[in-house]
């Protein structure tokens, strides 16, 4: 298989404009003859569905939550980047492009990232026009802040709830199209299979989560905007329902899965407090603008602190190690996420961690409060401080927060070309569900930008190019291909319901998460990965022999829903390990212990690994087949990332 990324010819800055002119258009009167399915209603899905509806296509949109407004984009806190240069501090489209390519450790496509930077400015305009209440200065103009890994202030924000406000904006645009009848919304409905007819994506099979009814929906194109797969780790900052099932089942129907081992570990989360823990809560990294990260200088002090013999206040300034400021003076506490996470792990591994478990570092606001006063800090981060206090029962205005890295985002996902189409004709992937723009590491405030770029400004152009070449004919939903896919879904559900074993779904999920975090997390090595692969295979076999799923299909069955998702995680986990094993380099947050610089920084191998690893399904239990898309860098020079 040859992976054609379909990147347009011409100079970088002109590719997208040229492509927009070259793509085929669908006559306005003919758009109503085409049906598009959009799965997922987060930033990418809601914005795409709304924009398709505005253009005149017939859209069916699906989400597993009770309302499209619940999608997990809503939980994004910090902000959204845009190269507006409103602050006159040297920002430009090229600089945003450059920062994003570099931040991704040179493992993303230049053309995609440049387009992302170009449309970033349109996103802000669009959101403001919808009534999104971004933060403003006293003059009434939009405010910006700087965000992890950037030396300019280009991040737009709405207090610590930027994702919520952007999603509610997209949700309102979606609602308008639902009211017009251009979008038909199916909440509490989960996609369980993709349907191909003559090699093209022509629909999906879904389960109604209230009645259990298995139904088919036919269309001319299918867009998966189903988010990431961070929940493979069980504990992550993802919502409880976030899952990989739609993307995974598309993979099993022939779509390639790219860079599955690229997961982002976010440095500032509330540490784990017990085995009952169901999820991890993120503290926006905007906190690193004012908070200083430190641990005690010596293991001995850290031990006394953990035993409760001394308190934070007993540790004098000279006995504290502000390790990010010490090691990376140019960026200090604002180093990119992968660097901050890896260093937190490093100091904890040395025994200098804090908190009962020793798996935490301090994020201290004492200096900022002294400098600006508590009200100013409360105005910036009030809701985050409150959230921290609620969860930990500690007051972060009085004592430093304890933070530790946690799985937050997955850069890997379905392989897509420049048009965001997978290798399956008519199947598109948008937002976190695709692999395209973040390379091996995502910079802060880039996820919201990419989700909305894909949905508002890329797909509405590129999907027309595909549809314009499609006949209007609809495939009836009782076509044999649909019947076969429905039967496949019914069989899987029956199999899950009939095992009647001894272990719960969550029990398996937790064990899988533990394997992934230990062996395929922030630091990996070949031996550990090979071990993890065997462990996952054993666990998967045991799952199908011993899982307990109660009830029947024809009802609201929360255990069956979860069992389907965990069954897929048990397969995806193995592919992540395979991908991590084959990538003999350290890039982004993926630290292969065998590959490091003398200063213990990540050591890339551009000679051999500057490619996208796209995996093809060959059957459960068989090794997936690797296809490579070489990354060509014509505009940026590949350098070892340095934040010193």
């Amino acid at each position: 298989m040859i992976l054609d990324s379909r990147i347009p010819e011409g100079p970088l800055a002109e590719k997208w404009d040229k492509h927009k002119f070259d793509v085929k258009l669908v006559n306005p009167a003919n758009k109503r003859k085409y049906d598009i399915i959009v799965v997922g209603t987060g930033l990418a899905g809601a914005s795409a569905a709304a924009s398709f509806g505005e253009l005149g296509y017939n859209v069916k949109a699906f989400c597993f939550q009770d309302s499209p407004r619940r999608a997990h984009s809503i939980a994004a806190q910090g902000g959204i980047n845009a190269a507006k240069n409103y602050q006159n501090d040297g920002d430009s489209i090229y600089r945003l492009f450059y920062d994003t390519i570099k931040g991704g450790d040179y493992r993303a496509r230049e053309a995609n990232v440049f387009r992302l930077a170009q449309v970033s400015v349109n996103i802000i305009d669009q959101c403001v026009a919808q009534g999104v209440p971004f933060a403003r200065d006293y003059g009434g103009l939009l405010a910006n802040r700087s965000f992890g890994g950037a030396q300019v202030s280009r991040t737009f924000y709405a207090r610590g709830q930027t994702g919520q406000q952007l999603l509610l904006g997209a949700y309102s645009a979606l609602n308008r199209q639902i009211a017009y009848g251009k979008v038909k919304m199916y909440p509490r409905t989960e996609m369980l299979d993709l349907v191909l007819v003559d090699g093209k994506a022509r629909g999906i099979v879904v389960r109604n989560l209230i009645t259990g009814k298995i139904e088919s929906h036919s269309a001319h194109a299918v867009v998966l905007a189903t988010g990431g797969y961070g929940n493979v780790f069980f504990l992550s900052t993802n919502a409880m329902g976030s899952n990989a099932t739609a993307a995974w089942r598309a993979y099993k129907k022939g779509a390639l899965f790219a860079n599955p081992c690229y997961t982002q570990i976010h440095p500032t989360c509330i540490p784990v407090s017990g085995t009952y823990q169901s999820k991890l809560t993120l503290m926006s990294e905007s906190l690193r603008n004012d908070g200083r990260v430190w641990v005690p200088k010596t293991v001995e002090t850290a031990e006394r602190l953990r035993r409760g013999e001394i308190t934070v206040k007993d540790i004098a300034e000279q006995d504290r190690d502000y390790y990010l400021e010490r090691k990376y003076p140019a960026f200090g506490n604002l180093v990119p996420r992968d660097v901050a996470s890896r260093n937190a792990k490093l100091v904890c591994d040395e025994g200098r961690g804090v908190g009962a478990s020793g798996l935490a570092v301090f994020l201290d606001f004492a200096d900022a409060i002294k400098r600006e006063g508590q009200p100013a800090i409360a105005a910036k981060y009030g809701n985050l401080f409150e959230m921290y206090a609620k969860i930990t029962d500690e007051n972060p205005y009085e004592r430093p927060m304890r933070i530790y890295p946690a799985v937050h985002y997955t850069m890997g996902g379905l392989w897509v070309d420049y048009n965001l189409m997978t290798n399956v004709p008519g199947l598109y992937a948008a937002g976190e569900a695709n692999f395209s723009d973040h390379g091996a590491n995502r910079l802060g405030a880039s996820a919201l930008m990419q989700g909305l770029a894909d949905g508002y400004f890329v797909l509405p152009y590129t999907i027309g190019d595909y549809l314009a070449k499609m006949p209007y004919d609809k495939v009836p939903a009782d076509h044999p291909a649909f019947k076969e896919a429905e039967q496949n879904v019914i069989d899987i559900n029956n199999r899950l319901l009939s095992v009647n074993g001894q272990r719960t779904v969550d029990d398996f999920h937790k064990q899988l998460g533990h394997i992934m975090w230990e062996y395929c997390g922030m630091a990996r090595n070949a031996e550990g990965l090979q071990f993890a692969k065997q462990e996952i295979r054993k666990l998967r076999d045991e799952f199908w022999r011993d899982v307990k799923v109660v009830g029947v299909n024809e009802e609201l069955n929360i255990t069956l829903e979860k069992a389907n998702r965990v069954a897929d995680f048990l397969e995806l986990g193995e592919l992540m390990v395979d991908d991590a094993l084959h990538r003999e380099e350290s890039c982004g947050g993926h630290f292969r212990e065998e590959h490091q610089t003398p200063e213990n920084e990540a050591l890339r191998d551009d000679e051999n690994f500057a490619y996208v690893a796209a995996w093809e399904f060959t059957g459960v239990g068989n090794d997936a087949v690797l296809h490579k898309e070489d990354l060509k860098f014509e505009n940026v020079k590949l350098t070892q990332r340095s934040y010193k």
């Binding site: 939550q65 407004r69 026009a129 308008r176 400004f457 609201l556």
Partner: protein, 232 residues
């Protein structure tokens, strides 16, 4: 009503983690777990509900159920958990209710009619900081339905007013302010929510602090709109 005894609950557990523990025990016994809605577990998605000891989202003010921790209960307590109670929120199963009425109210007018593209540069619409902040406060509604559950009349007016006042305050929303409030209020009535009798229980129980001022604003917007209706 079923009573389940449960042991080994840590004060640091969230309320929903306590429910997870209960469900794991039930599953191992081969019993049906208790269905409840939840998703983000960080207080922002609005999916969790639960009427706990007679209060929506439980005893802590300004907190969703997922952010409520067991340290607020005493060992040995019997905790009463009910679904949201409102005719407009029919129960699907156990503690899961149907809140799609909220979506239909938003579809009736909770938006600014702009298509993707073709909008002016963001900074050509200056908005004073105080207005932007007020609009933001109204826009933080998470759509959980606690206001309806708290109200003896099951009125949705706080929910509706949050969106109406957000968009009425902002210049972007002014063009449609009259039709918006008329249509959203009409849809609220169609859905079967009760009338507001000014008890203020909704704002007391709102987990994100949506203020009663929004209801004042909705009323003045509504009267103004009715007097000079553009629903022609």
């Amino acid at each position: 009503m079923v009573t389940y005894p449960i042991k080994g609950i840590s004060p640091d557990m969230s309320f929903l983690e306590m429910m997870d523990v209960l469900n794991e025990e039930l599953l191992l016994k081969g019993e049906d777990p208790v269905a409840f809605d939840h998703d983000c577990r960080e207080g922002i998605c609005g999916m969790c509900s639960l009427f706990i000891n007679g209060r929506p989202h439980g005893p802590e003010r300004g907190t969703t159920t997922c952010q409520l921790h067991m340290r607020h209960f005493k060992d040995g307590d019997t905790i009463t958990i009910e679904p949201w109670r409102a005719a407009a929120f029919p129960v699907h199963k156990d503690l899961v209710v149907d809140r799609s009425a909220f979506d239909r109210i938003q579809q009736a007018g909770g938006y600014v009619s702009v298509n993707t593209g073709g909008v002016p540069d963001a900074n050509t619409i200056p908005i004073s900081k105080s207005i932007a902040d007020k609009a933001f406060d109204a826009a933080t509604c998470i759509g959980c339905g606690a206001c309806v559950a708290a109200c003896k009349n099951a009125s949705a007016i706080l929910f509706v007013s949050a969106k109406v006042s957000q968009l009425s305050m902002l210049p972007q929303g002014k063009t449609e302010r009259k039709t918006r409030v008329e249509n959203m209020v009409a849809q609220m009535d169609i859905e079967g929510f009760g009338s507001c009798t000014n008890t203020g229980a909704c704002a007391v129980e709102c987990p994100v602090g949506i203020s009663l001022e929004n209801i004042d604003m909705l009323r003045s917007e509504f009267i103004f709109a009715k007097a000079t209706s553009e629903n022609l």
